[in-house]
Subunit: 462 residues, 2 copies
Amino acid sequence: MTSPDAKTDGKTAADLIITGCTALVHDDHEQIDFVEDATIVVRDGLIEAVTTEPMDLAALPDLPAAEHIDARGQIAMPGLVNCHTHAPMVALRGVAEDLPVEEWFNDVIWPIESNLTEKDVELGARLACAEMIRGGVTCFADHYFSMDTVAAVVAECGMRANLGEAYFSSQGAEGRERSLDFALRQRGGADGRITTSLAPHAPYTVDDADLAKAAQLAREHGLLVHTHAAENRDQTDTSLARHGRTPIEILQGAGLLDVDLLIAHGTGIVERDLPVLARATGRIGVASAPRGYLKFAWPTTTPVRALRELGIPVGLGTDGAASNSSLDVWDAMALTALVQKSTEGDPRWLTSRQALHHATLQSTRAVGLGQEIGSLAPGRKADIILVDLTGPHTQPVHDLPATLVHSARSSDVRTTIVDGRVLMRDRELLTLDVPGIVGELEERMPSLLDRSHGRKIQDYDT
Amino acid sequence: MTSPDAKTDGKTAADLIITGCTALVHDDHEQIDFVEDATIVVRDGLIEAVTTEPMDLAALPDLPAAEHIDARGQIAMPGLVNCHTHAPMVALRGVAEDLPVEEWFNDVIWPIESNLTEKDVELGARLACAEMIRGGVTCFADHYFSMDTVAAVVAECGMRANLGEAYFSSQGAEGRERSLDFALRQRGGADGRITTSLAPHAPYTVDDADLAKAAQLAREHGLLVHTHAAENRDQTDTSLARHGRTPIEILQGAGLLDVDLLIAHGTGIVERDLPVLARATGRIGVASAPRGYLKFAWPTTTPVRALRELGIPVGLGTDGAASNSSLDVWDAMALTALVQKSTEGDPRWLTSRQALHHATLQSTRAVGLGQEIGSLAPGRKADIILVDLTGPHTQPVHDLPATLVHSARSSDVRTTIVDGRVLMRDRELLTLDVPGIVGELEERMPSLLDRSHGRKIQDYDT
């Protein structure tokens, strides 16, 4: 991402200098802290410094080659991470409303997905990336089909992503092999912005032997496994009735708790799962997407407090837009705080600082990038967003974390930067053309939405 | 609001023509419907027509004097109504976070409110109106102090409002008299945009005799009464323990269910209250502000389904920003749908069309303006918002009500119109200067926030 004329006087030029912002940082105990009137120096896509030292830009010979953003009045934060989504499903936003999850899957989504073409995935992924960049999301963990296409979109649009090709046991060995092939082939792609996962769909669609095979492959190849598990309480109850084990116990039996594992949702994690999770030797993370749980009227949400006591990071996600209606991680952050307070009956729990910790380091750990991103600290990748708090809805600021979590909205993100490259400047997308994408997507709709064939890709029968 | 040169050829000019929009209307059964490629004609602040007839603007002699908005690609909707707020409290946004309600009142808010000056109220109300206009709110029901000041801000900024001067029994007869004087003096103000209420604070701060007096005055003067009641379950339990009656039964005993009554919150409305409410002879409405209930970790929310069965309209509100963090009614609409689904355990309940009905006719009925606003229909006042759905987060549109409720955000409102007058055009506020207001408010903060005096305006002891 170094600009072509970035070398001056034999020194490597900084890619980017952001001045005058208030920077959200983590202190030595990982508490959220703020540095006022900060300058952020980015070189070769990495954060070199977050400093309050006055800098005389003109006096530094290597700086004229860099891009300079005057961010006075703005907050610089680590870019948000969407820890669990199916990006291309934005194409299906609104096709299955006000339904229980089994009808949502069996009557609408899985029949429609039997029509999916690579073009649909490509256009959906582009639209999703546009939505996410506009909402301050710099990285997403995606679990879907035709993922080579999604990888190409990631390369094109400049985002960071962890990508996994989903598979079911109903596909035989081929699904798993394709998932592994994808993961090995694409990791490190897009100038290192792409990491990959093995992506078995869920314990209710992938059998025990295949889950064990996934664990073995993950260990062999050092891959993260990204799967849905204990999505809701019904799944846990059904699993107990059919197999005498919870979905978490099934993962454990397959060896998946002894590799790096990203569990989507986990609202069906129950008391007896906690000691099982406590014995995990892999790095386990959970992605929580609370809007969809409310919309599906699930009786519980992700047990964030219990997971915290186990030291398991809970990252923020949106799931696909076909259930969640949006890929708004900012909204997931606020809703997580609200729903957690309500669920625990404790207004002091999940403070705004805690919510910001989930949105930063816990999210990056959940997707296996805990050392690379998630904090504005020297050596981390320069995934940075600038948030404007001058709007009437965010003034006055008596409590900056609360303003960010409960008053600001994703639309207050003005600038989105990944690897030091500006992907949105003053709310203008620089790498994606939304009207063009929407126009092409419209044309795809009749064949994508057709359910007259009676096929579906899978049965929801947990 | 007729423009000065509005008369041409002896005909009254239309104030405003909006063309090319999709208009949200109500059908004969009050179901939400949409008229595509609609033209909305506004004359003298009233909606004259919502039509799909092609109009040759140049050929109509009276039209050149009118303002013309080309709204292709936008949705025209009735302006949102904030059915319960304390607008000036935006000045206190974030001062009391992550606290139970009793500490929030006793330790922070009521001590700070003993410092309130008219200037604080004025600046807070201005900032609140700026936030609301930007969020597509055209009318708000306010319950606070120094309400003449709020009325002056409403006159200045062009919004519509129902205003009530709050009082406690601890103020003696003087509080009630001031509230009545305000209500009688200000009603019909700001060219008819101001209506008024009597505003006894709540059954736990206003005694039975004073509540009965409020009912009597309301009947005598034809005034709405706006009060907090059964705000949470604790209040109901405490009321039962102390008085053997629920807050709703206390209102009933005082005669307040036989006048027009706006009840804020009602999350503590219990089973035994339902027959009491069913026997009400006044027009009762309830304002629900779900974000704050989650934030305070209250165990229940407004019982929307039970109230619907009684025919009691439930309007949307935000409460004050000191608890709710924002005055975002769009967010209240989405959260109402989500929380209702979750609370009832029924994903089919509170559909997006129902949510839009709450946001329109139920809200306007709750604030006593059911005949004046709330629908884009001839003869109604021209309180209209234009919403842009071209952003990536609202595309594609498979289900327009769902897109509006669950994907769109208040920041998608581009234009806000009250009484036919444009208050925000393309997100630019035309009647309020936010940086100026914020700058003045900053200066007020040290004296407003001072709690060293040990005073407070009231005790929270339900």
